[in-house]
C-alpha cells in the first residue's frame, strides 16, 4: 500500500467520523469544531488530488470565514448549553432510515454504472489545479461570472445588514 493510498484512507475515515460526530454532538460548539475537522480532511483530499488552489481556498473560506461566523452567532445567542429538546425517537429513526436509503440508491447506481468502470482520478500530479492555469481561465473565459459574483456578494452584504438590524 503506497503512501497516497494510506493518506486517502486516513482522510476518508477522518472525514466520515467527524461528519458523524457533527450530528451526534449535543453541544453546538462541538459540532462546529468537528465540522472544521471535516473541512480540513476535505482540503487534504484536494491536496492529494493536486488541486492546491481549491485546498487553500477551502481552508480560508470555509474553516476560516464561514465557521468563525457560525461560532460568532452561537456565542452571540449563548447557545452553548446542551438543552436542545430532542426530537421524537421515531422521527430520528425515520430520518436515519431515509438517509440510509438515499445512500443505498447512490451506491447501487455507482455499482451499476458502466461509464466509470476502470476510470481513475489522477492523484499527486497534473497541473490543472495550480493557480497559474486556474487564474488564466478565471480572468479570461470566466471573467463575467467572476464580476457578477461581486454583485452577489454586495447584495448578500446588504441583505444581511437589512435582515439583521433591529426594527
Amino acid at each position: 500500500m503506497s503512501t497516497s493510498e494510506i493518506l486517502f484512507w486516513f482522510l476518508s475515515v477522518l472525514a466520515l467520523f467527524s461528519a458523524i460526530m457533527v450530528l451526534v454532538s449535543k453541544n453546538p460548539i462541538h459540532s462546529v469544531l468537528w465540522l472544521i475537522v471535516v473541512f480540513f480532511a476535505i482540503s487534504g483530499h484536494y491536496l492529494l488530488l493536486n488541486a492546491q488552489f481549491l485546498a487553500i481556498v477551502n481552508i480560508i473560506v470555509y474553516a476560516g470565514a464561514i465557521m468563525v461566523l457560525f461560532l460568532f452567532v452561537i456565542m452571540l445567542m449563548n447557545l452553548n448549553k446542551e438543552t436542545e429538546p430532542s426530537r421524537n425517537i421515531w422521527m430520528k429513526f425515520s430520518g436515519v432510515i431515509s438517509g440510509g436509503l438515499l445512500l443505498w440508491i447512490f451506491v447501487s447506481a455507482t455499482r451499476s454504472a458502466g461509464e466509470i468502470v476502470g476510470k481513475t482520478a489522477m492523484i499527486k500530479e497534473g497541473s490543472i489545479g495550480l493557480i497559474e492555469n486556474l487564474g488564466k481561465v478565471l480572468f479570461t473565459q470566466y471573467a463575467l461570472p467572476f464580476e457578477i459574483s461581486s454583485v452577489l456578494f454586495l447584495s448578500a452584504m446588504v441583505g444581511a445588514v437589512v435582515i439583521g438590524k433591529k426594527q
Partner: protein, 111 residues
C-alpha cells in the same frame, strides 16, 4: 485512485448531511449539515475533474481538460459564503423574535 472510491465517499458525506437535516432540530446544526452536503458535492466535482484530466492527459500532454470543474467548485464556494451570511442573519432575527432556534417553531409565517 479508482473514481468509485471518491463517489462512495462523497455519497456517504452527502447522506450524513441529509440525515442531519432530517434528525436535528437546532437550526444552526441543520445549516451546518447543508454546508456538509455542499462540500461533498465539491469533493465529487474535483474528483471528476481529475478523472477527466487523466483521460485527456493520456493522449495530449498539455491538455487542460477538467479546469471548468475546479472553477465550478470555486464559484460554489463563493455562493456558499454569500448564502451563509444571509442565512445566519435570518437565524439571528428568528432568535430575536421567538427566543429559540428550534425549527419546530418555524411553522407559521406570521409573527
Amino acid at each position: 485512485m479508482p473514481i468509485q472510491y471518491y463517489i462512495i465517499l462523497a455519497a456517504c458525506l452527502f447522506c450524513i448531511g441529509v440525515a442531519g437535516v432530517l434528525t436535528r432540530r437546532n437550526a444552526i446544526i441543520v445549516f451546518m449539515c447543508i454546508e456538509l452536503m455542499l462540500n461533498a458535492v465539491n469533493l465529487m466535482l474535483v474528483a471528476f475533474s481529475k478523472m477527466h484530466y487523466a483521460a485527456a492527459f493520456a493522449t495530449d500532454n498539455a491538455s487542460t481538460a477538467g479546469t471548468d470543474a475546479q472553477l465550478f467548485v470555486f464559484f460554489i464556494m463563493v455562493v456558499a459564503a454569500a448564502e451563509v451570511s444571509v442565512g445566519l442573519a435570518i437565524i439571528v432575527m428568528m432568535y430575536r423574535n421567538i427566543h429559540s432556534v428550534d425549527i419546530n417553531f418555524l411553522n407559521r409565517l406570521k409573527n
